[in-house]
């Protein structure tokens, strides 16, 4: 059937109206308003015509394609003329000198392609002996601090050296013309040439006088020595010569005077071995629980106000004299015991005291005199020149300034507005000074109120020399060109004195004229100079032991000095008068990392946990836990509860800080660390904590860290302190094994009995008991070539934390900040576990019938007694030979090397974190975020300058991968290559891990276990050796030596 159907388009078609028929042939039935549209002029007039449109199109396409390009290209520019000594990829090492006005050390600076990246101790330096300190190791990062001054400043604005020089010279000439007073307030100058430059300046401007100020003062010691011996010097000490050491409020292992040296000296008498089972005895009397006190064999806790009485009472008991003193009640008996012990060891005993009070120091002198320490372990004839501050002169300067008598003040190396007890008064007085100038290389509280800032170079950019003590002469050389428009202070002073010699020439000339004559036998001056520069220190002790002649510089006449203390009786009277403390007593102390706060803007130091409290990024009020309980404060700084914030008020000074429980702290006493509460220093340190220097006081002619009369408020808020360790006891577990010396003398394995597991294997022994090593699930690895092992002597580890900083620096360990530490996410590859003893243990529980639940709850609480014991244990990846992490990784990102190392392949890691969960030591660290180039983590890895500190041999880890200690595999590799070039096996000791290198006490030894003569192999046979958590059967390559305490059976 054909299709005859007709479909209409509409009713119009059906009807076939004329209109429809007419419009049917049009393309569009309705008229289009074409003419109307085209006739509209406004359309033609629009600015976007066709050409423009095409332009826009082209632009957009180009822009879009540009935006879609890959990440920006970073150009690596090759050397046009390669410096002869620089080989890309090979590190250069330069000897130099670290001196920041407080800490001194001869250092070796490791540079890569012209960038200093790592600081270690100089083995030739008789003071550091190759060891380091947290503050010194971290100083390399302070070089790359983007908040440093980039140019000289005039009235807070950036300027240039020409304008600054003309302004300063002009003013100086005016002031000199009017005989106005010019003062130089400086930290101790140990550089002979700098002293010469100052002398040139004072010659040019005869009204100029120098005031030396140490933020942490040791002035009382020189005053006391002046009174006792007529020698106003700080002596040097040799703790290795003492068999009994008594430290009184003296943190000599971590902060006091020359801690690296002291730690090494003391540790040499603490490393017991089977052949010679002798060790020194270390007693400590203190209010705080210092790092030094934590390592003492016996600790006596006294309030700061009682310490003086204890010293006098000790003197009385030692000598049988009867200087007037206050009774210490129950503690008197302990002082008697100490006295009799010291008396028994006359000639082999040493007493050091960290209290900056000349009366107390004078009695200490008498005690040491009585004990025969002088010439044996105390040396007045080779004095320490690093603390020459004169506290009274500083106070005199402030009143002089206040009186408007000072026209020009040059501030060098110190930050008085921050560190003086009356910093505010200094600030006010400074406004009366016409010409105020600071040499600080970075902004601080003082530069904020100075008219001029002539920024000094960082020490790594400077030429320097040093005479830190009689008989030691050192040179420092720059290891990088100045990063900014800065100038060494020595050059600035010379320029203003009219001498345009540069620092290098000036120092060289000075050495040629003054020191070279004594060494002329060595050859020409160039030889002498090059050798000195190469070594960093001048070694020929016989010659430099002569007085090299310190340059006399005009110092301010001291007006406010109290009359010298005539004899011990008047000293005792002064001590007795000062011991009337009211209210809560306060002491301020230095933390190992932050110290006096001059490097507070250094994130490595901020994130370094305090050795004792394990808190990072803050200061806080330390208080005895039982006292806190009485006051209703939270004593558990944990992840669960936050710390209480309190107000501490002394007079008009109020500090608001969180309060932290500190076992072993005297009751009625609080402690606050200095170095915090910085302002105007940079993003890292600004606004952290509060300034405890306000609680120091100027009394009896010296700045003292102890005061009283504080009132404490109740809790005014809550604060989450960021601690890396929130549980403080070993919970009765065999983690740090220890024994007393007496036990060890009887039994080489004391405290380290063989660990045997009960099994039903009849093949092993008759009772089926087996050592964990014998029960294996896995085949043993064969380490045919090398087998890298590490041992750690817990008797030599004082917990100072130098290794932690050193590891951070070597291995590009990221800083994560306070908030992440609060979340327990610190990235340190190496941590130092600190455990307190608890009053509860298995025996006590059994005796008192305490149930299991209560027992463990009580075990968690550190002992509240004075005699709480502390142990330190560095823990890094243990490089297990049957590693639980290796079996669980689904992608083999962590594997075992043929040399016994547990390796982490970052590129392969997919981030399941299974390895970290299965690690019994919890040493694995996960990159929760991207820690570099991330504004959320605005530390050194987020700015181009800060990134210059990164070690190019170590990968910067990306987000989402696991990382951990590699035993410095890059150093092992470098050492192997050196050996290979010489066609030999790596010598034992040639390869040192970063932690090992920095350790001032050589507690860590590292080497090839397959080398029968290596230190580590010998240590393996030591009966004190044990492996941490041996019973888990993971067979670690790191092992420890038990801690031996020199306690009497009565004390034990």
């Amino acid at each position: 059937m054909s299709n005859t159907k007709k479909y209409w388009k509409g009713i119009e078609e059906l009807k076939a109206t004329p209109e429809f028929l007419q419009s049917k042939n049009n393309e569009f039935i309705e008229d289009l308003p074409v003419d109307e549209f085209l006739g509209n002029d406004s359309i033609v007039d629009t600015s976007t015509n066709r050409r423009d449109f095409l332009k826009f199109l082209g632009f957009s396409v180009t822009a879009a394609s540009l935006a879609a390009c890959e990440t920006p290209v970073r150009k690596a520019i090759p050397y046009l003329n390669k410096p002869e000594e620089i080989l890309p990829g090979v590190a250069n090492f330069y000897a130099s000198t670290y001196w920041d006005g407080n800490d001194y050390s001869g250092v070796i600076v490791k540079t890569r392609e012209g960038r200093p990246i790592f600081i270690e101790g100089n083995d030739l330096c008789p003071i550091s002996n190759g060891g380091s300190h947290a503050r010194i190791g971290a100083s390399v990062l302070s070089l790359y601090d983007s908040s440093r001054y980039k140019a000289p400043q005039i009235s807070g604005k950036e300027s240039d050296w020409k304008s600054l020089d003309s302004a300063v010279s002009g003013k100086l000439n005016d002031i000199a013309a009017g005989s106005g007073a010019i003062r130089i307030l400086t930290s101790t100058i140990i550089s002979p040439s700098q002293k010469a430059a100052v002398a040139e300046f004072t010659t040019k401007y005869p009204t100029a006088q120098v005031v030396t100020y140490d933020a942490i003062s040791y002035n009382a010691i020189s005053i006391a020595n002046n009174a006792s011996f007529g020698k106003a010097v700080i002596p040097t000490y040799d703790f290795s010569k003492a068999e009994v050491v008594l430290g009184i409020s003296c943190d000599f292992l971590a902060n006091w005077l020359s801690p690296i040296e002291h730690a090494r000296q003391l540790s040499s008498t603490r490393k017991v071995n089977v052949e010679d089972k002798k060790m020194s005895r270390h007693l400590q009397i203190e209010s705080n629980l210092s790092v030094t006190g934590a390592n003492a064999d016996k600790r006596v806790v006294l309030k700061p106000s009682q310490i003086g009485s204890a010293v006098v009472s000790l003197y009385n008991k030692l000598t049988g004299s009867s200087l007037s003193t206050k009774s210490l009640d129950k503690k008197d008996a302990i002082i008697s015991e100490i006295a009799s012990e010291l008396n028994k060891n006359k000639g082999k005993a040493l007493v050091v005291c960290g209290i900056n009070d000349s009366a107390i120091q004078q009695v200490i002198n008498a005690i040491n005199m009585h004990l025969g320490a002088y010439g044996n372990s105390i040396f007045l004839d080779t004095p320490d020149f690093t603390k020459q501050g004169n506290d009274a002169a500083v106070m005199g300067l402030v009143s002089e300034m206040n009186a408007g008598k000072v026209d020009a003040l040059f501030i060098h190396g110190v930050n008085p507005v921050y560190t003086l007890p009356n910093g505010e008064a200094f600030k006010a007085a400074l406004s009366k000074v016409d010409l105020s100038l600071s040499f600080s290389d970075r902004p601080d509280e003082t530069t904020a109120v100075c008219k001029y800032v002539a920024p000094d170079n960082h020490y790594l950019e400077s030429w320097s020399d040093a005479n830190p003590r009689k008989g030691v002469l050192a040179l420092g050389q720059p290891t990088i060109n100045p990063l900014f428009s800065t100038r060494q202070s020595i050059e600035s002073l010379l320029i203003w004195s009219g001498n345009t010699t540069n620092a290098h020439d000036y120092i060289a000339k000075y050495w040629e004229l003054n020191f070279y004559p004594s060494f002329a036998t060595l050859g020409g001056f160039a030889t002498f100079w090059n050798k000195s520069l190469h070594d960093g220190v001048v070694l020929n002790n016989a010659q430099i032991a002569q007085d090299l002649g310190t340059i006399k510089i005009t110092t301010i006449p001291v007006t406010e000095v109290s009359a010298p203390i005539a004899d011990l009786n008047s000293a005792a009277a002064l001590i007795s008068a000062a011991s009337n403390a009211k209210g809560t007593e306060v002491f301020v102390y230095q933390k190992t990392g932050i110290g006096n706060g001059n490097q507070a803007n250094n994130p490595w130091l901020q994130e370094l946990p305090d050795p004792i409290s394990k808190v990072t990024w803050d200061n806080y009020v330390l208080m005895n836990p039982s006292e806190m309980e009485d006051k209703g404060f939270n004593t558990i700084n944990g992840q669960v509860q936050e710390a209480d914030i309190i107000d501490v008020t002394i007079g008009s000074n109020k500090l608001t800080l969180p309060v932290l429980a500190q076992p072993g702290l005297a009751k009625g006493v609080i402690g606050i660390a200095v170095g915090y509460g910085r302002e105007n220093v940079g993003k890292t340190a600004n606004g952290i904590g509060a300034n405890a220097f306000k609680f120091t006081q100027f009394i009896n002619g010296t700045f003292q860290s102890e005061t009283s009369g504080a009132t404490l408020s109740g809790s005014v808020g809550k604060y989450h302190l960021a601690a890396t360790q929130t549980h403080h006891t070993m919970m009765g577990r065999q983690i740090v094994k220890e024994a007393t010396l007496e036990e060890y003398k009887k039994d080489n394995k004391a405290g380290n009995e063989d660990l045997l597991l009960a099994t039903n294997l009849k093949t092993i022994g008759k009772d089926g008991k087996a050592a964990p090593k014998e029960l294996n699930l896995w085949e043993s690895f064969e380490n045919k070539n090398h087998f890298w092992n590490m041992s750690i002597d817990l008797n030599a580890c004082f917990g100072c934390g130098a290794c932690v900083v050193s590891c951070t620096s070597e291995n590009n360990v990221p800083v994560v900040g306070k908030d992440e530490v609060r979340r327990s996410r610190e990235m340190h590859w190496l941590r130092i576990d600190r455990y307190y003893s608890s009053d509860m243990n298995e025996e006590v529980a059994e005796k008192e019938g305490v149930g299991a639940i209560d027992k463990f709850l009580k075990m968690e609480i550190p002992s509240a007694n004075d005699n709480v014991e502390v142990v330190f244990q560095p823990v890094m990846c243990q490089h297990c030979n049957h590693a639980p992490c290796e079996t669980v990784c689904p992608v083999l990102a962590t594997t075992h090397s043929l040399e016994g190392l547990n390796q982490m392949t970052y590129n392969r890691c997919i981030g399941t974190r299974y390895c970290a969960n299965n690690c019994p030591y919890k040493v694995r660290r996960f990159n929760w975020f991207r820690y570099n180039e991330n504004a959320q983590f605005d530390f050194n890895m987020n700015d181009d300058l800060g990134k210059m500190v990164l070690n190019p041999d170590v990968t910067v880890r990306s987000r989402g991968v696991m990382e951990k200690c590699s035993m410095c595999v890059q150093r092992i590799q470098a050492g192997k290559l050196v050996a290979k070039k010489n066609s030999e096996r790596p010598k034992d000791g040639a390869i040192k891990t970063a932690c090992q290198k920095s350790c001032p006490t050589n507690a860590i030894s590292f080497g090839d276990f397959n080398d029968m003569n290596s230190q580590v192999r010998k240590t393996w046979n030591n009966e004190r050796k044990y492996q941490l958590l041996e019973e888990v059967g993971v067979q670690p390559s790191v092992f420890y030596l038990t801690k031996i305490r020199n306690k009497t059976s009565k004390e034990a």
Binding site: G638, Q639, Q725, H727, H728, T729, M730, M731, G732, R733, I735, E820, R823, S824, R825, E826, R831, D833, R834, Y835, A852, I853, F856, L857, Q873, V875, P884, T887, V888, C889, P890, V891, L892, R908, C909, I910, G911, T912, R913, Y914, A916, N917, N918, P920, Y921, K922, R924, F926, N927, W928, F929, R930, S958, R959, G960, V961, M962, L1029, V1032, V1034
Partner: protein, 459 residues
């Protein structure tokens, strides 16, 4: 009376007088009818939660795992807790369809379809976590032993995580195939009933051209039996292997040989609880009361009593063994679970998993829909806490007290968990609207016998 093999004492599995046609009508209704408002509201909420979860996942991938509450000591927490919880839930479906099939438990026919659907969706939710918890998700495929050009890189066959990859993917594949095989004749029924051409075409594709010939039925039966045979060991193996993530480790509280049976029992326990939670709502909403009856609920409750009791015994065994072992770390780990800072999670687990299911010994409770529903929720919660307790309380205080710390979840942790619940319900609701929620053709095989008993028809 005609010669019939059905036992007289059995309760009917389908209530009311149903004809074959009525069954088809009843089950096809949700697919063919319009969604009501309640459905729309619930679906919208689920979809929003799912999107929120996806957003949290995206945030995690974009920023880093650090947005979760994990730390140096607790490397797994909610992520793996959720993973194990979802995998556990995913156990009931296959158990019902495979093991009960082999045991000729014909009552399973009313519930197996939705239980299997639940399994599939739960496993999808579960599988999200092992992938998402990786620090570098974009290289997640490295867990597969793929030939590659990176050198001699291969997966680590020693790692239980790798076993997981295979266990879960195998389980998912087999479950999906089994589920789909069962769906084919039912899709054909829906196809034949569809009047809308587009829908008809879709169901035509889905039903793989099923014509219902005797040959097809015979092959269908064979495949079902083979798949049931394959699935049965999987039901036991998946959670055994998941438990090995923990059991093969060295962490006190994880390193436990009891884990495989204990985990499998727990998985079935939680799976049945989730089936009950869903079915009690679904039978009401989709008017399937005649098919999913109190008898079903009661039978499932009996399984819950059994598995719940096994789990309870396992908990007590763990405590005993930790004491008996004499290992101080082990002893402390368990003491810390019960009395440490996470005591509340331990006691929530104990209450929900050990005490509440014991109420099912009372017939009144186990035949009460409301009571069952409430207890099933308790079990779901309790089983989540069980995994939380195992993972977090074991990790947060292990060997060295210096590293002990706490885990605090963040909003992202919570968001991701809620998100997966959203994803699960979104899928399940879509399933309920588009798939025959009861195995139609299978159900028809039990109609006659149940209809005729126990009230013999009047002859």
């Amino acid at each position: 009376m005609e010669n019939h093999s059905t036992a007289n004492v059995r309760q009917p599995l389908i209530l009311e007088e149903k004809t074959y046609h009525q069954i088809t009508e009843d089950i096809a209704k949700p697919i063919e009818g319009k969604a009501n408002n309640l459905f729309k509201v619930v679906f919208t909420i689920s979809a929003i939660l799912a999107l929120w979860g996806v957003g949290c996942f995206a945030y995690t991938i974009g920023t880093g795992i650090g947005v979760w509450g994990l730390n140096k000591t607790v490397g797994w927490a909610w992520d793996i807790t959720n993973f194990v919880w979802w995998v556990g839930i995913g156990h009931a479906g296959t158990l019902i369809s495979a093991i009960l099939l082999l045991f000729r438990q014909r009552w399973r026919m009313s519930i197996n379809r939705s239980a299997e659907a639940m399994t599939i969706f739960a496993v999808i939710c579960a599988a999200l976590f092992p992938v998402m918890h990786m620090g570098r998700v974009w290289v997640a495929y490295w867990v597969f032993p793929l030939p590659n050009q990176f050198g001699s890189l291969w997966a680590n066959f020693n790692s239980p995580l790798l076993w997981d990859v295979f266990a879960i993917s195998t389980y998912f594949t087999v479950s999906l195939v089994f589920w789909y095989t069962g769906l084919i004749p039912d899709f054909a029924t829906i196809r034949d009933r569809q009047v809308k051409p587009r829908m008809r075409r879709i169901y035509k594709i889905l039903s793989f051209g099923w014509s219902g010939s005797a040959k097809q039925w015979s092959r269908f039966e064979e495949v079902s039996l083979v798949l049931a045979g394959l699935s049965t060991p999987l039901v036991l193996s998946v959670h055994t292997i998941v438990s090995m993530d923990f059991a093969t480790s060295v962490i006190p509280g994880w390193h436990t040989t009891i884990f495989p049976p204990y985990f499998v029992a727990g998985a079935i326990f939680s799976g049945f609880a989730m089936v009950l939670t869903l079915l009690i709502i679904m039978r009401k909403v989709l008017n399937l009361e005649d098919y999913i009856t109190v008898t079903h609920v009661e039978l499932m409750n009996k399984i819950i009593i059994l598995t719940g009791s096994i789990v309870g015994v396992a908990y007590l065994t763990e405590l005993f063994v930790s004491w008996y072992s004499g290992v101080e770390y082990e002893q402390y780990a368990f003491l810390n679970r019960a009395t440490g800072p996470y005591w509340w999670s331990y006691w929530s687990m104990m209450t929900c998993n050990v005490i509440t299911p014991q109420l099912f010994w009372f017939k009144k409770i186990r035949t009460s829909l409301i009571a069952t529903f409430i207890i099933s929720i308790f079990v779901n919660i309790g089983m989540w806490f069980e995994r939380f307790v195992i993972i977090v309380t074991s990790l947060h205080r292990d060997y060295l007290p210096s590293s002990w710390t706490m885990f605090h979840p963040t909003f992202v942790d919570v968001g991701i968990f809620i998100g997966t619940i959203g994803i699960f319900f979104t899928f399940f609701l879509l399933f309920a609207r588009t798939f025959p929620v009861i195995a139609l053709s299978e159900l028809k095989t039990i109609l006659k016998s149940t209809k005729e008993n126990p009230n013999p028809p009047h002859h």
